[in-house]
């Protein structure tokens, strides 16, 4: 058995169902060995999107996403995708081919020090130096990626190691890493302190982050909030933990969030942060917010606690376990007055000004669209205005909302949606993007068609890099610099070229009808909606 066969066998042992990748000479032995195992192989059109697809796949399946690239430029092209996954703690195993290990360090053709290059974007990385290590390394990589605070792990395998003969393949059952033992159970003393704080609180608020999804604790979180009737707000990554119409949900916090959610955070006397980083976009001045407030911070990563704000009650562990443990305790918490106040805030939420009637109103459009979507639909927003409008106006029922939160990587939504499709054949999947981000990722329409991973895509077309334009309008007195997207192709023709049904919505007049048609037609489909370039998020 060759090293490459062993690699393929490791993926079988890890029950990997699909890999996203792009071959090159240095990873050819592996791709050859993949012919003899029953794992779907998806050829992407550029390596960055292999990582994004693996990310979308992982977020919907709950499994570790796997992406593969060759040495040198193949590997370096993966980096943005890896960094994107790292910022949002998405578990990936990224496999790269490497030049012959005897030539490492001599700058031969397509050699790149990828383990060095990705160091600050991975949870861990391996450069395989001995073929016999392959089973142990793969076992460890999948374990590290999927436990504790999840994240990407890279395995770099030189071509001579892939071609070397492994004397004995035995896949380790247990991982024994003396230096890696993530805390999974919350400390009971801390849990009791939280319960006590809930008992005392008059204006408690739960702020959920992406960690709740990563811990698969959505149901437990909803039960927790409802058991004590504590209102909930969310970070960008925590969206879709609560359904939008849940009476306890008060929207997204942060500078692009809802005023009522930010007021709730500011006026609360007990903030329970769950699986959130207290990042700059969510809470800009944590020290000010926390003056008269008890802060509980629940996270699986001890380093997140106290990184941006010092909590009064830190609680480290897996969120799902902690919420299950907390359920055992009763607390008296009458928040009805507090909820009334928040509901008043919600009602007085500033209303968005209607844009020019010659264009599509993105807020109204997203509202209508999400009403028509199936209950469990997956909605993937890209980065920019389309993302902010989606956060504000997409109504989540029981589905999921995915986006690149931490890194804000343009071009994420289409590959992530395709990856989500690989995880779930049946659910409705919608990707939104701007005309800028579409042009960063539309090469993947071919991947979608080739591998039968169809999704529906909506392009918010305003001819500009809208969010940057908006920033330049506000910060540089409308002196626009390098944000004009003139020269873009006709998206209808692009759609036709890929043999994808196309819809264009010019204004709101026929919105209902066209959205219905778009949703009813068999996947894939592409819709372009025309947005006023002057339209803004705020």
């Amino acid at each position: 058995m060759l090293g490459a066969d062993a690699m393929a066998k490791c993926l079988v042992k890890e029950q990997v169902r699909v890999i996203f990748g792009y071959p090159g000479v240095a990873i050819c032995p592996f791709f050859n060995s993949m012919l003899s195992v029953d794992i779907k192989r998806v050829l992407v059109r550029t390596e960055q999107n292999a990582a994004h697809m693996a990310s979308g796949y992982s977020r919907i399946s709950g499994e570790v996403g796997v992406c593969v690239a060759t040495s040198g430029p193949g590997a370096t092209n993966l980096i943005t995708g890896i960094a994107t996954a790292y910022a949002d703690s998405i578990p990936l195993v990224c496999i790269t081919g490497q030049v012959d290990s005897r030539q490492l360090g001599s700058d031969v053709f397509q050699e790149a020090d990828i383990t060095g290059a990705v160091e600050s974007f991975v949870k861990y990385s391996y450069l395989v130096k001995n073929v016999e290590d392959i089973p142990r390394i793969f076992r460890e990589a999948f374990h590290i990626a999927s436990t504790g605070r999840k994240g990407p792990v890279l395995i770099d395998v030189p071509i001579d190691i892939q071609n070397a003969t492994i004397s004995k393949f035995s896949y380790p059952e247990e991982v024994n890493l003396r230096t890696y033992k993530p805390t999974v159970k919350g400390h009971v003393v801390q849990i009791k302190k939280v319960i006590k704080a809930i008992n005392k609180a008059k204006k408690p608020i739960i702020c959920v982050g992406g960690g709740v999804h990563l811990s698969d604790a959505r149901k437990e979180l909803q039960e927790f909030a409802h058991k004590y009737s504590i209102p909930v707000v969310s970070t960008l990554m925590g969206l879709s933990v609560m359904s939008t119409d849940d009476p306890l949900f008060f929207g997204m916090v942060g500078n692009n969030g809802k005023a009522c959610a930010n007021k709730a955070m500011n006026e609360s006397d007990l903030i329970i942060m769950i699986g959130a980083r207290v990042a700059d976009r969510a809470i800009s001045q944590p020290d000010l917010t926390m003056d008269n407030t008890v802060l509980v911070h629940i996270d699986v990563d001890p380093a997140e606690i106290g990184k941006n704000v010092g909590p009064h009650i830190p609680l480290v562990g897996d969120i799902k376990n902690i919420l299950i443990d907390m359920k055992k305790y009763d607390a008296e918490c009458d928040c009805s007055d507090w909820i009334d106040i928040l509901n008043d805030y919600k009602k007085s939420e500033p209303v968005r000004k209607k844009p020019d009637g010659n264009y599509v109103d993105p807020a109204e459009f997203i509202g209508i669209l999400s009403d028509k979507l199936k209950e469990d639909a997956i909605y993937v927003a890209d980065v920019g205005q389309n993302q902010m409008w989606s956060c504000g106006y997409h109504k989540v029922k029981k589905g999921r909302f995915l986006t690149s939160g931490g890194m804000g990587t343009m071009g994420y939504s289409i590959p992530a949606a395709i990856g989500a499709r690989a995880a779930d054949k049946n659910r409705q999947i919608i990707a939104t993007c701007g005309d800028g981000s579409f042009q960063m990722s539309f090469m993947e329409l071919a991947t979608m068609q080739q591998h039968d991973l169809p999704v529906k895509i909506i392009i918010f077309h305003n001819g500009y890099l809208g969010l940057v334009r908006e920033y330049q309008y506000n910060t540089y007195k409308a002196n626009y610099s390098v944000v004009d997207l003139s020269g873009s192709p006709d998206f209808g023709k692009i759609s036709e070229a890929y043999n994808i049904p196309f819809f264009r919505l010019e204004n709101m007049e026929r919105a209902n009808e066209i959205i219905d048609e778009f949703l009813e037609i068999k996947d894939p489909a592409l819709m372009e909606i025309m947005i006023d370039p002057k339209d803004t998020v705020k």
Binding site: Y180, A303, G306, K307
Partner: protein, 164 residues
Amino acid sequence: MVDMKRLYSVLVENRSGVLSKVAGLFSRRMFNIDSLAVGETDDPKVSCITIVSSGEQGTLEQIEKQLNKKIDVIKIKTFMEEESVSRELILVKVKYNKSTRKEIMEICDILNASIVDMSKTLLTIQLCDTPERTNLLIQMLASISIVEVARTGTLALQKCSLSD
């Protein structure tokens, strides 16, 4: 907020690339490295990286937490300067002439430094002592004419307590 000094004695897996991972963590997160020394321990599979850093309380705690997240890090001991026995080895090459030679030798005498190499115009002085005293040696020699300095960085172990 006042900056404090803290010593980190970091036991790591003795694998290639680990030092760069640890050093990279400091630069990426804007943590200071005042000095860094690394070497094998009694167990050849384990290296010890001794780092002296300074910063605010919160930063010093983050350093420990972030180091703990590194999978190659086995154990971290942190202590304040006064809780440690710390030493640094320093080599100083100075230019001398008839009029300065005596003064240099006096400084060496007072600080217990030794002269380990010499030519007609140059002297190399060695001192192994606390970081304060090695700094003092440099200060004293600076006015004479230092040609080159090499130092190991601080090595430290926690002080033995009477109850040990």
